[in-house]
């Protein structure tokens, strides 16, 4: 489900079935590396959309969580921890964080929930048909990780 009014009624009726939050993480900095950041953000948004399409009945996709590239990884980790805590209070059992920022890879074992680090592919240069195929293939590779996360009773 998405964070939009058309999905919220369904969400409220079937709250008990939606136990997972899906949060894309986007680094922002208006520096020389801007192009790379934008490409990364685009890529993560596409994969997140595909993930939502696949599992829309069990997860709620939130708007991207932005952070400054200048923030320290520890700070970002703490912030994610806070969010996870809040989701847990609302009865959610899982969070899936989506990122392709190499700096966040080290958080994989530290943050609560499942942090999917997906190396960025330069798909913006691809032909649109081939692009959606690539995204779907990437998504297929992530499925086992998501299934494994769901096998844990309660990961938060």
């Amino acid at each position: 489900m998405r964070f939009q009014t058309s999905d919220i009624d369904t969400y409220q009726q079937s709250k008990a079935y939606v136990d997972t939050m899906l949060v894309p993480l986007l680094p922002v900095a208006l520096d020389d590396d801007l192009r790379q950041k934008v490409a990364m953000g685009e890529y993560i948004s596409l994969i997140t959309m595909e993930m939502e399409k696949q599992f829309r009945g069990r997860l709620m996709q939130l708007p991207p969580l932005m952070y400054l590239s200048s923030e320290s990884v520890t700070e970002i980790g703490e912030r994610l921890g806070m969010w996870a805590e809040a989701f847990k209070k609302d009865g959610k059992n899982h969070v899936i964080w989506m990122t392709s920022d190499p700096a966040l890879k080290q958080l994989e074992d530290q943050v609560p929930g499942l942090l999917l680090w997906i190396p960025h592919l330069p798909i913006e240069h691809l032909d649109p048909n081939y692009r959606s195929k690539t995204i779907r293939e990437q998504m297929q590779q992530l499925l086992p990780d998501v299934m494994a996360e769901w096998r844990k009773e309660d990961s938060l």
Partner: protein
Amino acid sequence: MSEKNHNVSRRQFLTYTLMGVGGFMGAAMVMPMVRFAVDPILQADAAGDKNELTPLSDLTEEPQPFSLTYEVEDGWVTQTMEDTVWAYLSGDEVIALSPTCTHLGCTVNFGGDENNPEQFFCPCHFGRFEIDGTNVPGTPPTEPLHRYDTEIRDGVIYVGRPQPQQ
């Protein structure tokens, strides 16, 4: 020269000209309105159109996923959409099912559950469907998978939009 020597008097000329111009102006206003009113009738055929799925020879008795591309017009924007359709042969009949779980809309897979290889399986809440799309009682979905109407032209399968099965 007097008016009588003319075939068309000044008065008549003005009347004709005004009528002509008035007629054009009237038509210019009424035509778009008529077109808007009639438009849905002209469009009806396009909406009922089917989209090409795959050659009939690709189908087996085992359901396989095929990708279906079609165009959606939303206002002035035309978008190309891509859906997956699971299709198989049951005797001579082509059965094409939508993989959207009727519970909360996740994507189901055929044989996705090791314990039930002959069923469609939804990974979200373990909903299951028989091969013909009927929901397995005791699992979350409450209605069968939606089914596409199919048509075969020159050995190629064309499908419409998925409809609820009753």
